[in-house]
């Protein structure tokens, strides 16, 4: 089922959670809403679910206006960050809750309900755990029960609110791979809220980057990573160096940087080329401050001589070994790929709250 949010605005007192947001999610897509806390992503999800009502704007399911449809009739599956399992019910009762609450005329037989619960238990790989209580499960198991419970009612849409936020890194990685696989099997339209860019880039068909109650950019993971529309997206998705425009002296970067003195150049650490000697083409002179080759790539901290700015660089280990740069030595850099933004825009996007 396709979901469309049209011109949604939502305020909580003086705080604006969503400011005229438009979003269209196609049927069968897995879309993540990515942004720092307070960016409005969870509010948007809760409005789609019907747990909150927009101050203005409308929500459409399959092009039908669902803005005033009560929660119970929306047929959405929702997974909460802290599981929200019914603590006094066994896993099986939790999973079958939605079926057992159906009006008598639509309710499947006891036998059918038990069968469906068993089916879902095996889908989430928790066979034989039906008799346990939520308190007897690990965090990852609880979240899988929550997912099974949401899927039991055959929802038209699956909404996940930071589903792995409360889990440790290892479980989180396993679960998100598994959610992606599950989505590929079931093809259910899925909206996924997260503040973890790695998570969003790894599992989504499209990523919606949000900041300050607005959508900054919508695109495939590769689009938002390679062609960030705004300085905020640039900073939020992965590491980036922001270098002042108007560099003194001969500049090795695209001409536009040179021309605009009030702009910032954004360059990713792996888009910097490092040379031992200037090779004729325009380069920037720098001093090596620190090197670290532990890890899949080598990391260098270089201080630009012209502006005194620190540049983080990532090099393939082979290239690093070849250069053999030591702290204190001189180096010359070229930017393979750079984008400039007016300094005013860039300053607005500084320090996203939890870009980690």
């Amino acid at each position: 089922m396709s979901i469309e949010a049209r011109n949604i605005t939502k305020r909580f007192g003086a705080f604006t959670a969503l400011d005229q947001v438009d979003l269209k999610i196609e049927s069968g897509e897995l879309v993540s809403l990515l942004g720092p806390s307070g960016s409005g992503k969870t509010t948007l999800l809760r409005i789609i679910a019907g747990l909150e009502h927009p101050d203005s704007g409308t929500v459409h399911f399959n092009n039908a206006n669902a803005t005033h449809l009560p929660v119970a009739q929306r047929k959405v599956g929702f997974v909460f960050q802290h599981y929200a399992l019914f603590r006094h019910m066994t896993v099986e009762k939790n999973i079958s809750f939605g079926l057992r609450m159906l009006p008598r005329s639509k309710r499947p037989s006891r036998h059918k309900v038990a069968e469906r619960a068993a089916e879902l238990l095996s889908l989430v790989q928790l066979e034989g755990m039906g008799g346990r209580y939520p308190s007897q499960l690990s965090g990852g198991q609880r979240q899988r029960v929550a997912l099974a419970r949401a899927l039991a009612v055959e929802p038209r849409v699956l909404l996940l609110d930071e589903p792995f936020g409360a889990l440790d890194a290892k479980v989180r990685k396993d679960l998100r791979k598994w959610v992606r696989q599950l989505h590929d099997e079931l093809h259910i339209t899925t909206v996924f809220v997260t503040h973890d860019q790695e998570e969003a880039l790894e599992i989504s068909d499209r990523v919606v980057v949000m900041n300050h109650a607005r959508i900054e950019q919508i695109g495939t993971p590769q689009e938002v990573y390679d062609q960030p529309a705004t300085p905020f997206v640039f900073r939020f998705l992965g590491k980036v160096n922001a270098v002042k425009g108007g560099l003194a002296g001969p500049t090795p970067v695209p001409d536009e940087l040179d021309a605009r003195h009030d702009s910032l150049a954004f360059v990713r650490p792996h888009d910097v080329e490092v040379l031992r000697y200037p090779n004729g083409s325009p380069t920037l002179a720098a001093t090596v401050e620190h090197t670290n080759a532990a890890g899949s790539v080598a990391r260098l901290d270089l201080r630009l001589r012209a502006t005194g700015e620190l540049l983080e660089v990532e090099l393939p280990r082979a290239r690093h070994a070849e250069l053999d740069l030591k702290p204190g030595e001189a180096a010359y850099v070229k930017f393979k790929k750079v984008r400039t933004f007016p300094a005013a825009d860039a300053a607005f996007a500084s320090e996203p709250a939890d870009a980690a």
Binding site: V71, R74, H82, A84, R87, F97, Y133, R142, R149, A152
Partner: protein
């Protein structure tokens, strides 16, 4: 490292054998005996006295006290009053706690203060409020008289006064519990298609059952034992408007000590049963609390 750990453990073992504060033994004994003496004098001796006085002339005289029609009527009235006021306060308490814990609305803090009012106010004043409203000289007195409705010096007044006094027990017990539980389970139930009533019945109620039972037990104990407010509105008509606590007072004033203490033993037994039940519920609730915390961690 291992050396440090061993030293730590040894220090702890030594510490466990010594009192934490390091006060001399005689001070500890003094503090403890003061506490125990106080308990014996104010609680234990009176309790024993109630039973010894009641049984002073033997079991026959003790049981004979309960065959007195006035005593029987007092017992019936007390049970009747509790049977009305406890369920009403249960429903009210759950509704109020639900509203306060799960919703935001203007006047919420005022409602919380109002729920506490019966605790803050003297029961005698509570009784007087009803006399002022429904008594012969009260606001609604003439109208009630004209329609032959009797509230003051009759059973309805006693029930009203009891409801007022026992008003906060259930709500007070539930509000913090429901607030700590939050509303995500309810949200989850609604999203899964449950109606509001199903959500309450299958999700909210099971989560608060022990707190609810605890509140009901306390509410019941107070409803049966209330003296002040009921005394003001009762009129002390023997065999008609005397509850058990009032009956004890009347018998005592009549120098009918055995009967007075016999009825008092019933109230004392009620208190003991309440304590045992309360303890049981607390035990269950703490077990549930453990599993809840497990679910959150």
């Amino acid at each position: 490292m291992a050396g440090i750990a061993t030293t730590l453990i040894r220090t702890r073992l030594v510490a466990a054998n010594r009192p934490l504060t390091g006060d001399p033994a005689w001070i500890r004994w003094l503090v403890m005996s003061v506490g125990i003496t106080f308990l014996v004098v104010t609680l234990f001796i009176p309790l024993v006295a109630v039973f010894t006085e009641a049984l002073r002339h033997g079991l026959a005289a003790y049981f004979a006290s309960f065959t007195d029609p006035d005593a029987l009527s007092a017992i019936r009235l007390t049970l009747f009053t509790a049977a009305i006021s406890v369920p009403l306060n249960l429903v009210f308490g759950v509704a109020a706690a639900w509203a306060i814990a799960k919703f935001q609305f203007p006047g919420k803090s005022l409602l919380i203060s109002l729920i506490d009012l019966p605790f803050a106010i003297s029961p005698v004043v509570a009784g007087l409020i009803y006399v002022l409203m429904f008594g012969a000289q009260g606001w609604f007195g003439p109208w009630l008289h004209a329609h032959h409705i009797k509230i003051i010096f009759a059973v309805p007044g006693i029930v009203l006064a009891t409801i007022f006094v026992t008003f906060p027990f259930v709500a007070r017990e539930l509000i913090p519990l429901m607030e700590s539980q939050g509303d995500t389970e309810e949200c989850a139930a609604l999203i899964l298609g449950a109606t509001g009533w199903q959500t309450f019945w299958y999700v909210t109620l099971p989560n608060i059952r022990w707190g609810l039972l605890y509140g009901v037990i306390l509410c019941n104990a107070r409803a049966m034992g209330e003296f002040g407010a009921v005394s003001v509105v009762s009129g002390h008509i023997r065999g008609l408007t005397n509850t058990m606590p009032l009956q004890v007072e009347i018998l005592y004033n009549d120098y009918n000590f055995v009967a007075a203490f016999a009825v008092a033993t019933l109230l004392a037994l009620l208190a003991l049963v309440t304590l045992v039940l309360k303890r049981l519920v607390e035990w269950h609730a703490s077990r549930q609390e453990d599993s809840t915390q497990g679910a959150l961690s």
